[in-house]
């Protein structure tokens, strides 16, 4: 009570700031709380985690497997594996990072099984179809060119090896930070940056010939 007014205001402000920081930390750690409950047998907690993160995981899976059915299968399998291996999850990493790592591994496994080749063939067929059915109402030539570039990029991305495609999706589509990418891939931050660089170069190497054909 005997403190000066400004000193008291500073004290109250610092208390308020700490409270806000505490709330933020609590919110970030709520995933860890749900994981702990799920480990102890609370399946409702795991369902809560599913509802929280399924959109993010689905976006990533769809970028990796551009068919919705395949992406949904990957997401479902990822959460099943997460449930199976909850005991292996360490609280130091974000739960989403751990999930995306599972999805990356699943996509890698699927690519190795060779099913990807069949999808590529289907995409090449559908890619031509998309190109031919673009919107030509306003600027036919411009729209045609834009659609062609979009299709070319889609094909090139789909044709990338899974280890290149995953880092392109993580960095350039999902805009995740390099430390997260490093945790997902299980490498250092410098290693993640290098992998992103190589993937971008590989993508351009596939796109350039297709775009340069007209020139």
């Amino acid at each position: 009570m005997g403190r000066p007014f400004f000193e008291r205001m500073a004290l109250y402000t610092s208390i308020y700031t700490r409270a806000v920081e505490f709330d933020t930390r609590m919110e970030l750690s709520s995933d860890a709380i749900l994981v702990r409950k799920a480990r102890d047998g609370d399946y409702g907690a795991f369902e809560e985690l599913f509802e929280r993160h399924r959109a993010l995981v689905y976006r990533f899976a769809y970028q990796m497997m551009p068919r919705r059915d395949d992406a949904e299968d990957i997401v479902q399998e990822a959460f099943v594996r997460a449930y199976q291996n909850l005991h292996k999850y360490r609280d130091e990493a974000k739960f989403t990072t751990w999930l995306l790592r599972i999805v990356t591994n699943l996509c890698t496994d699927q690519a190795r099984m060779g099913t990807r080749r069949q999808h590529l063939e289907q995409q090449e067929a559908t890619g031509g179809l998309i190109w031919m059915t673009g919107d030509f109402s306003e600027d036919p030539v411009g729209n045609l060119e834009n659609d062609r570039k979009r299709v070319v990029l889609q094909k090139a991305l789909a044709a990338l090896p899974v280890h290149h495609r995953s880092v392109i999706v993580l960095r350039d589509l999902e805009e995740r930070e390099y430390p997260d990418i490093a945790q997902i891939l299980g490498c250092t931050v410098g290693g993640a940056k290098l992998r992103v660089l190589r993937a971008r170069r590989a993508l351009r190497d596939r796109v350039a010939p297709l775009l340069g054909e007209d020139k």
């Binding site: 102890d40 047998g41 609370d42 399946y43 409702g44 795991f46 369902e47 599913f50 509802e51 399924r54 959109a55 689905y58 976006r59 769809y62 970028q63 919705r68 992406a71 949904e72 997401v75 479902q76 399998e77 959460f79 099943v80 449930y83 199976q84 570039k149 979009r150 990029l153 889609q154 991305l157 392109i168 960095r171 350039d172 589509l173 999902e174 940056k193 660089l197 971008r200 170069r201 993508l203 351009r204 796109v207 350039a208 775009l211």
Partner: protein
């Protein structure tokens, strides 16, 4: 263009560079046509990827599908744990102790007429159904007598072997009071007609015979006697009636 230059152009195109270094590379690229072309190509790729990232169709995932997938893998989603783990042990111990104390089987009253083999010395009224003097239509020798039921409480004795019958079997108890006549001298018997379990028509007698002294002759002290306990309780005393039978005229069915 060397590899290092291309790496810098890639970082510039995708925004992975500090603003100061970015402006420097931008100026260098402007002076080099090939660098400018490569920078333009990478920027087109980046814009195309950004456009693609917004074209995500909605998913059809659901919690039910996930649960089915988990169950299909043989994993069982557990229910809420409820108590913390460290509380389970004393809780289970308390439940087990409660179950032992309150749910352990206790000796209960018999539901139906039971055949009890007891030492004959423990029970007072002894009835010997052998009445050799009179002839009867039922083939049991009996003297003219008056049937009378005597309530007898059931007493437990050491080494008692109890054969109880299921409660669903109905017992019909009839007491025939025979007028004093010297005709057939039907033995008034407690027609506690057991059913299948007492097949053969075991007729546990609950009468106290008056008459021939020989009929009242107590059995030998060491002889095993069969006591039949009636399920119906006496209206006056509230106790179950028991009659003792010995000899070969009691058939115990099982």
């Amino acid at each position: 263009m060397n590899r290092k230059s291309e790496e810098q152009i890639i970082k510039l195109a995708f925004g992975d560079m500090d603003p100061e270094e970015a402006s420097r590379i931008e100026l260098e690229a402007a002076r080099d046509p090939e660098a400018a072309r490569v920078l333009s190509a990478y920027r087109e790729i980046r814009s195309g990827l950004r456009e693609r990232s917004t074209q995500i169709p909605p998913d059809q995932l659901s919690k039910e599908r996930l649960r089915e997938a988990i169950l299909a893998q043989g994993l069982s989603p557990k229910k809420n744990a409820g108590l913390p783990g460290w509380l389970w042990m004393p809780t289970m111990a308390a439940v087990a102790a409660f179950g032992y104390v309150y749910l352990k089987p206790r000796p209960t009253t018999l539901d139906g007429p039971s055949v009890v083999a007891v030492n004959s010395g423990d029970l007072a009224p002894k009835v010997d159904l052998h009445v050799p003097s009179a002839e009867s239509s039922i083939g049991i020798g009996m003297a003219p007598m008056v049937a009378k039921t005597t309530p007898t409480t059931v007493k437990e004795s050491a080494g008692t072997r109890v054969a109880s019958y299921s409660s669903h079997r109905r017992r019909k108890r009839t007491v025939v009071q025979e007028p004093k006549s010297d005709l057939s001298g039907l033995l008034a018997m407690n027609a506690i007609s057991g059913e299948a379990g007492m097949s053969g028509g075991t007729r546990p007698a609950e009468v106290e015979m008056k008459g021939d002294a020989t009929a009242m002759a107590p059995s030998k002290p060491e002889e095993t006697t069969i006591v039949v306990i009636d399920e119906q309780k006496d209206a006056l005393t509230g106790a179950q009636r028991a009659t003792e039978a010995s000899g070969s005229n009691v058939i115990v069915g099982g």
